[in-house]
Symmetry: C2
Subunit: 433 residues, 2 copies
Amino acid sequence: MSTRITRLSVRDIRFPTSAGLHGSDAIHKDPDYSCAYVTLETEVSGLAGDGIAFTLGRGNEICVAMIEALREIVIGRTVEDIFANMHEFWMALANDGQLRWLGPEKGVLQFAVAAIVNAIWDLRAKQAGKPLWQLLADMSPDELVDCAELSYVEDALTPDEARALLASHASGKAARAEELRSVGMPSYTSSAGWLGYSDDQVRSLVREYRATGWSAFKMKVGVDIEAEQARAALIRSEIGADGRLMVDANQVWSVDRTIECMRRLAPFDVLWIEEPTHPDDILGHARIAESVAPIGVAVGEVISNRVVFKQFMQAGAMSFCQIDSCRLGGVNEVLTVLLLAAKFGIPVCPHAGGVGLCEYVQHLSAFNYVAIAPSLDRVMIEYSDHLHEHFVDPVVMRDGRYQLPKAPGYSITMKPDSLVAYEFPNGSAWQGA
Amino acid sequence: MSTRITRLSVRDIRFPTSAGLHGSDAIHKDPDYSCAYVTLETEVSGLAGDGIAFTLGRGNEICVAMIEALREIVIGRTVEDIFANMHEFWMALANDGQLRWLGPEKGVLQFAVAAIVNAIWDLRAKQAGKPLWQLLADMSPDELVDCAELSYVEDALTPDEARALLASHASGKAARAEELRSVGMPSYTSSAGWLGYSDDQVRSLVREYRATGWSAFKMKVGVDIEAEQARAALIRSEIGADGRLMVDANQVWSVDRTIECMRRLAPFDVLWIEEPTHPDDILGHARIAESVAPIGVAVGEVISNRVVFKQFMQAGAMSFCQIDSCRLGGVNEVLTVLLLAAKFGIPVCPHAGGVGLCEYVQHLSAFNYVAIAPSLDRVMIEYSDHLHEHFVDPVVMRDGRYQLPKAPGYSITMKPDSLVAYEFPNGSAWQGA
């Protein structure tokens, strides 16, 4: 039996979040969390897969157009054929002879590849009646390695090494899944520390989140270091010596400026500095990592592909690995980065927030703990309390921890009413905006 | 007096080059050379600037859409205000708070920024009545450094160093311009070595180009090393010991495979291996450079921005610097890379061919020689004999050398008839295709 993909549709969905300065940081001052929302329909009635490209608003239409440009590569294939030769499918999307010039493996093209590839995984998980993390955890090392995109990383990780790593953790998988089912997965929140918030707003949000179970908080920096020292002091005084505090500069500093600013923030016991400088500057991050230790360097939400992740790890430039579920080329390439992180002993703390990112990454972190990297030491998933109400199977948080998803699929399917109301520019949410 | 930009228009222009396998290589098997063609009109009647984003066909419409998305950042500004604060203008385009998520500084967004920024330079040069290279060569070190985008490269090159470098070569500028005017600029051709060509085709093209004055040839590799050894032998026997032979793998090899293949091609006295592996793998290229010396590593046509160029140079991973005029963020960022290359002592051999790239880069190489790096040692501009007939002021080749452009502007303006005939999908060239 085979399941043919018969239709690809894609919608421009945007939420007017900029009104409340949610998501404001040193460089993204007014994001409208948005996504290009792709649905792959099959010849089996009711069986479809959904995927998204997350964006900050303007330009969402460009992702929609790029997904449209990839349509012909997808339509007519069967899910079974795709999973029988994932490398060929991934390369067909990511390395089309004409379109690849627009990347390669980066930017809008990689976003579109990811949206489609993730929709395929959603479809496969729904077909199997399993949440995505479980589908992955139930796959054999051979099957997983066949799906991981390992080209151009063989100097850091060979397929045989990847298989051996997966096989070495096979025996404890059921027990670790049971553990997560019982106590959930650790998280931190970035919802209390946006730059646009006042001190009073931050203080009251930190208290609110602490009362609900969170003990790890991230604040934005990069605009006014004196004010940010004061804010770090405020948060540290609220969370006590046991709480975790991270800071995020969203790429605005130079290497030297980072080292200077982190010297000034060090007294507040900072766990990591996130995105201190230009995200492509691997060698610069390596110098920062050496200079600011024991404070770690967290990076990854705008790293385009496995080859750049590989080098960050090889160069000692990454202390915390922040995969982005929509920027890497879908689950296939995320698998590669999870395997690399395990090989290099780097904790994976996925980028989340926005719209749909929390829903996606909970599966990746659960699978990573169950099958690839069986330790929760310094592992946390980012959490932001925005827009979950639009999902059919939203994240469930308890005591500041992600609860293990149970419904079949990759949890990214949105409610039909939300898709209608927030479609840009004609949905009701955008009338009069 | 100020010159306000009043209109931005953009067209989808494509040439059906895939029919003849021109441009075929190991990874781009059927390019249709294309461009998103942008025109900025001003309130001065007849004064406009043109710019292009070069693509391989499919996806050209995505570049058109991205340029449209940037329109509001450009319209209403004056040319004079833009040149009075180029850094602010460049950042407004490249780092828009919402659009930058789709890059940052890479892929489709960077292509669109480049097309617009280059149109501004074309406009400025036409306004000044000078070819672009001359406009640049006549600017003072302070003016040039104000236009070069030097953010995030200060660890390799400070503004003061850049000014000093430019000042140190000021005295010989007129003589070097005169030299170029008299003898032109050296080039090599890639037009004889496409993968899709037969041996007979290659032999007869090499003879034809040699008869016209060329002595440096590039051939494509990366598919069948035995066949490529034979082809290298064929070309070397045609061009003699004094001719230059370069090979280009278009990213298909791993690091180890590159080292092995170059061992097999070394007997044919190869000057450089171009794009041996994944273009983002700086550390991999560094290992290749160390292993294949004295053969050089040439790279750059798909390097997205100055920060990645900087690291290739810092890591010793680049022996020849192949700037791409449409992928880097316009003249502003090209200036940065030219200055970095001069600091690191790396010859600049721009990527050209396609459509319009030869027309663009001749200006960059001329300016580089006159004002930044006064040596032609191992300096060559790529040349392909395609599509020049569509330009109002096309390149002029004599004895295998680029002749110095004379007309005002950046030489990218296309003939009105060509714009009409090749507009996709409704132009006459695409009827029945």
